[in-house]
């Protein structure tokens, strides 16, 4: 019986079309898919991508082979009326040995680049011989937000530069993230920068990558960590080295709010007890460590762990009732008076 599919050329076209369709479905489009795992923007993500493309096409070949073979068998050997009992074959050792060896060979072909890439991704740049120092950032997963510390930048008050939920990095310089947690397990995952690694209490896990171009990259906690796991997002902003230096210089100093809130802002912040959980550099007693550091809150693009734009309206909604915006989060509804909400919004927005 001949194969039902017509000419070989049409079959090739079909296979090509299927492949293209799959690829289109898998990649999507940059503007619409900020979390895409197949749009690498660093050296590390690119290594993963190269491996993925190889394994993907290998899998497509196996997929078409097995499913096509299956369909052929089903069509060719369907029961037809008047047929005798088929020949009672019990096996064929040559065949069986060969289809044991064939997958093994395919898997060895996959295993070699796999292990090469594993070691390539886990080569610590801090010990690299060329002497270039990576930028170390200490990442701590919190319930449910991210804290970033820059040990190489010391503030006038002796603390290290600390920020939250928005990680600023330079392009062209290797970044070494030291990732841990002081509560439950989280997982740091910014898809376009590299794969994820878990933030585990008492463990110090590392991710290394070098961002290629300036841009904002979105990520999200990938390990179930409690009631607001879904709203534990973050983003990474890569800047040119010059912009990055400017950012460090600006952020190392306390923000200078405009005159209308320079006095009343910190006062309201203190009166409402915000200082117990939040730090604002330059404000007396405002050195709480429970919630995100707000020293330069106004310069962030998003708020509440990346779940919404940092706009006065969103901030007002948040201060009025954080539990309505993000149910179960650690910040209680403090029943701040409307007048104070207004002040706090303008004050925090001005901390740039």
């Amino acid at each position: 019986m001949p194969f039902p599919g017509a000419s070989g050329r049409r079959r090739n076209l079909l296979i090509l079309g299927l492949g293209v369709a799959l690829l289109v479905l898998l990649t999507g489009c940059a503007a619409e898919v900020p979390h895409s795992t197949v749009m690498p923007k660093t050296d590390a993500a690119r290594k993963i991508q190269d491996l993925y493309v190889f394994v993907f096409w290998l899998s497509v070949v196996v997929f078409i082979g097995v499913q096509g073979g299956l369909l052929y068998v089903l069509w060719r050997y369907r029961a037809r009326p008047g047929h005798e009992l088929p020949e009672q074959t019990h096996g064929n050792t040559t065949l069986e040995v060969s289809w044991t060896i064939l997958p093994a060979v395919i898997l060895v072909i996959m295993a070699v680049p796999t292990i090469q890439t594993i070691f390539a991704l886990e080569t610590d740049p801090e010990t690299s011989p060329d002497g270039s120092k990576p930028l170390i950032v200490e990442v701590t997963g919190k319930q449910w937000w991210w804290e970033f510390k820059y040990p190489e930048v010391t503030l006038p008050n002796g603390e290290v530069l600390t920020t939250a939920n928005e990680l600023i990095i330079p392009t062209g310089r290797t970044v070494s993230l030291h990732i841990s947690s002081d509560n439950v397990i989280h997982s740091f995952w910014v898809q376009q920068l590299t794969g994820k690694i878990d933030a585990i209490p008492n463990h110090d896990n590392h991710l290394w990558f070098t961002a290629e171009e300036p841009g904002q990259y979105f990520g999200q906690c990938a390990e179930y960590c409690g009631v607001q796991h879904a709203q534990m997002r973050m983003n990474v902003i890569a800047m040119t080295p010059t912009d990055y230096q400017a950012w460090v210089a600006k952020t190392s100093k306390p923000a200078t709010p405009p005159a209308d809130v320079a006095e009343i802002g910190p006062q309201t912040f203190t009166d409402n007890g915000c200082f117990a959980c939040h730090t604002i550099d330059g404000v007396q007693n405002a050195n709480g460590k429970v919630g995100p550091n707000l020293s330069h809150f106004g310069s962030r693009t998003t708020m509440a762990a990346g779940i919404m734009q940092n706009t006065p309206e969103n901030l007002q909604r948040w201060i009025e009732d954080p539990q309505a915006v993000k149910p179960g989060n650690v910040m209680p509804n403090l029943h701040v008076r409307p007048r104070d909400v207004e002040v706090l919004v303008s004050y925090l927005q001005s901390l740039k």
């Binding site: 479905l25 999507g28 898919v33 900020p34 979390h35 895409s36 795992t37 993963i48 491996l51 993925y52 394994v55 899998s59 997929f63 097995v66 499913q67 299956l70 068998v73 089903l74 050997y77 369907r78 029961a79 088929p86 009672q88 074959t89 019990h90 096996g91 064929n92 065949l95 069986e96 289809w99 044991t100 997958p103 093994a104 898997l107 996959m110 295993a111 796999t114 292990i115 594993i118 070691f119 991704l121 886990e122 439950v184 397990i185 995952w189 794969g195 994820k196 690694i197 585990i200 209490p201 008492n202 979105f218 999200q220 990938a222 179930y224 409690g226 796991h229 879904a230 709203q231 149910p327």
Partner: protein
Amino acid sequence: MAVTLPRPSPAAPEQPVQAAPAYGTLPAYRGFLSWLTTVDHKRIGLLYGCTAFCFFLLGGVEALMIRVQLATPNGTFVSPDAFNQLFTMHGTTMIFLFVMPMSVAFFNYVVPLQIGAPDVAFPRLNAFSYWTFLFGGIFMNASYFVDGLPDGGWFGYAPLTTLQFSPSHRIDFWMLGLQVLGVASLAGAFNFLVTIINMRAPGMSLMRMPIFTWNTLITSFLLVFAFPAITVALILLMFDRFYGTNFYYAPNGGDPVLWQHLFWIFGHPEVYILILPAMGMVSEILPVFSKKPLFGYPFVVYATAAIGFIGFGVWSHHMFTTGLGPIANSFFAASTMLIAVPTGVKIFNWMGTMWGGAIRFTTPMLFSIGFVSMFTIGGLSGVMHAVVPIDMQHQDSYFVVAHFHYVLFGGAIFGIFGGIFFWFPKFTGHMLNEKLGKWTFWLIFSGFNLTFGPMHFLGVDGMPRRIYTYGPQQGWSGWFGQDWLGWNMVVSIAAFVIAAGVALFMYNVFQALRGPKNAPNDPWDSATLEWSLPSPPPVYNFAVPPIVHSRDAFWAWKRRPQAVEAAESEATVTVAGHTVGHVDFEDQPASEEYLAQERNAYHYDPTTFHIPNPSFFPIIAAFGLIMMAVGMIFGYAIAVAGFLYLVIAVGGWAMEPTS
């Protein structure tokens, strides 16, 4: 002189039926009580199956609620807290309360019949396993009425499940419930090991054993070796929660990764515990509907054993993102790829079985073919996860959700549906409607692929698992500029197509049970011994133990040469005044040696069948276990009382006459 006689055959369903055997010294209960006290493996199998199916519906409703919530961005169908309870119990229910016990239902009903045994080795222990499973499942779900359902994920990662981060009783119910279910699984596993090793019919060597029985044997070994690991993990968690120890509590030096190792040393073999029984069913169904023996039976057996063995050496592939280091990651990548080899062998051998056959597309066959096809997809994405760098992108994303649903739904559940359609006539005496069955298959098959296929794309687009909501800006919706439209909406709608298929299946069962008991002994022209019996089989199974001379004994006997048939019809046998039948599955004229063996096998009196007594003690003892679990939460007095109650129940059990 041959000792062979009236035999079962499709044409002559008259069985060598023995007059109803006496039940020993205790009264045989009727009605409801007869189910509470039954020790008959077939009835226990039905209890397991029906209970597991109820839990399947529960887990399915939980899945549908999850999908309604996730259909659109910023869903408000359930609260974040409720969502976390739903996905935790969806996973826990489907694994521990549906697929595992449903497989045990098949072990129970089919294995003793396949090996020609009157029952399992320990019938009362078998009943105890069932009641313990039922009570454990109810106990775990009863959490809903106390503090809400468990919400730590089916994998219960510490330290999220420690007292500090989960102070309510939810995790207590989950943890103690799993321990109770573990007792049920272990008791069942030992029972089947002893049954299969000791109670096979004369002549049934290991390599003549039906392939489903082989899979049961290997699954039972996996259970015995895997469950102790989670038992230890749960005991440590219990000590952390109840007695303030620090096994997982990080601030005092505990290590959360310890939980992950212990959990996955159990958890990965568990995956094979879920899939191997379904592979066994498919390996029975494909040959029957291809009218050929299983291609490369020894290879399939060895591949199954290899999967079971290597399955204990791959657990860390669930932990590639925990920072184990390049050497450990490389090792577990290689071992995980290695396990794809025997799995591939099975797929090729299934195709070899169909090759050259006469394939009949019945409903069980459709589900089995669906299994081969869908499991291949799940296997390919599984190999992708073995590639550590790719896994660093896919781990805990919807790609993984797609992968394991292709393996566990497209694999295990397709296999189970195939098994139900295949053995339903044997279980009940009723035939299911084939037309409705095919509709069921196509509904489930298309719904399944539209539900879990697009999850691959969502995963590649970076959507993490276990999130109760997502924003419209995250790229997982927004087709044609519409926030609400995207793969998530497709997935949610398709989930209801699966539900429609399941509803149609239930309607089919309901209709069949209302109809006449019209199932012949051997409706599919099958190969194994259970089909030589009436549908459903009598309580004692085989009036006379069958004697087996080959693999696929019933198939060979049905096609025995005429010379053998002629010789059979001349002989009769009388034992202790009763004319008895004798099922000698022989496909060639017997040698003197065989005849001697057969006469040997007949040294027993069929009037004294060893039919075990019904007993109340299994259900009583199982209740004691649950009292202990309840007591751990609500007061040690109850736990102590439960323990004493259990001891007394076991004592009574030991003193009770068995027949």
